[in-house]
């Protein structure tokens, strides 16, 4: 673990610089450049609003904001998980030429996604104004939930990065698993009211993404206290996963370049 913090200290400048250049590259690549970071969540918000409110004729209070919160969290988690599977392969040119602690690659990717997520949160604040959702002090609960989300994603991402090197079709497995988690996380429905009684509590407690989305909604939309006990448990799980991930990566990272493709 000591090595991890030394590595972060040594490479944090590179992480910041590389994150910036990743974002710049993305902007340079596309025609509407940074507008995509706003348009993407906005369009999906409209799609889900259409499906749920017009096709299925159900709704939650402030539905567009409600679904936007869900999508924002989901996009961050999904992008991290998917990209970490192929992370080493995609950075082959770096991995085979210099030594770099491999979780630095994970962190670069995560900070890139974090920045995009922050734009999405900015959008949520604006939408809250539009739909006249009151701003409350409960919104300060945003920070602890975000930290849990970040640590949990980091743990999962490092472990997936490790196995992604050796298991060729992990990508396909992850695609199916993520679809499952997507529908189980209550992104476009409220788990606590729409799912019958014993199952909703099970889902909220066992699926960290569902819990995190629900917590964010409590902070922003309903203005109530979060279930801190469950959040703490998942924070501990996240830290444990991160430590396992870091240890595994440290043990095997020098073999990554050797894997024949």
């Amino acid at each position: 673990m000591k090595k991890f913090f030394q590595d972060i200290k040594k490479y944090y400048k590179y992480i910041i610089y590389s994150t910036k250049s990743n974002l710049k590259t993305e902007v340079a690549n596309s025609y509407l450049n940074w507008l995509w970071w706003i348009l993407d969540p906005l369009c999906f918000m409209l799609v889900y609003t259409f499906i749920v409110e017009i096709v299925f004729k159900t709704s939650e209070q402030y539905f567009p904001v409600f679904v936007l919160v869900g999508l924002t969290v989901w996009n961050f988690f999904n992008a991290n998980t998917i990209s970490s599977v192929k992370l080493v392969a995609n950075n082959k040119s770096i991995v085979t030429k210099v030594y770099i602690p491999k979780y630095v690659l994970t962190l670069v990717k995560m900070f890139t996604n974090l920045f995009k997520m922050m734009i999405s949160w900015g959008l949520i604040l604006i939408m809250m104004l539009l739909f006249k959702v009151p701003y409350t002090f409960y919104m300060l609960q945003f920070l602890p939930v975000l930290i849990v989300l970040f640590i949990l994603s980091f743990g999962i991402s490092t472990i997936l990065m490790h196995f992604g090197v050796f298991v060729e079709d992990l990508n396909n497995v992850m695609n199916i698993l993520l679809k499952l988690v997507f529908y189980m996380s209550g992104i476009f429905y409220a788990i606590s009211t729409r799912v019958p009684d014993p199952f909703n509590r099970i889902l909220l407690n066992l699926n960290p993404i569902a819990l995190i989305i629900d917590s964010f909604r409590k902070a922003f939309l309903t203005g109530s206290l979060i279930n801190y006990r469950m959040l703490c448990i998942w924070l501990i799980v996240g830290i444990v996963l991160s430590i396992i991930g870091i240890k595994t990566v440290q043990k095997y990272e020098n073999s990554y370049a050797k894997v024949t493709k």
Binding site: S21, A28, V95, T96, K97, V98, F166, N254, V259
Partner: protein, 244 residues
Amino acid sequence: MKEYAITVKDLHISYRTLKGFSIKKSLLKLKMSKAEIFEAVKGVSFQVEKGKILGIIGKNGSGKSTLLRSIAGIFSADSGTIDLHGNSVSLLSIGVGFQNKLSGYENIFLSGMLLGFSEQQIKEKINDIIDFSELGNFIYKPVSTYSSGMYSKLAFSITAILETDIMLIDEVFSVGDVKFKQKSYNKMKELISDENRTVLIVSHSLGTLKELCNEVLWLHDGKIKQIGDPEEVITAYEEFMKKD
């Protein structure tokens, strides 16, 4: 008392257990396929004195590049040790971590930081790098607009100006036009002949090695066949290759 910069002891490197594995395949076969073993380096030991230049020769696939990469810390050794006595090391390679959509200027920082230099160190050297690369105003244009010659000029300049204690060179480069080629060769020589710098060169150009090296190591099938005086080893090597 001689001061050593690199000590390699009984180094073994193999590519065995690390074949890619697929869930689909293993489900179909229902048993683990036998891992193929390929040992690239089989028990190599040598020492290099500080400030000396060691050339490495051998036919293709004899483990030269694997050896260099493991000294650079990219590969892990299966057994044996590599001690660099606290020196910084870099494998001279072209264009590490370049982002093609970004300008040459930004890529200097990106690549330099990846090679383990601090932002401050790069800032001090950046003008030298730009001067040496001869790119002029192109340095502020995206790398994707560069010609291949310009690209390698920039890449070479970064690695040549940002120096480390131990330099590992895989094939002597020839980049750019005739003028730049001469310039880079001279720069190379200047870098190599610095008294405090230890250099390992892998090359097939025997003439260059004879001229530059203090010692030559001949690798054959992952083992040391001969090590010692450049003239002697290279002559033996040439004879051996003719026989084949």
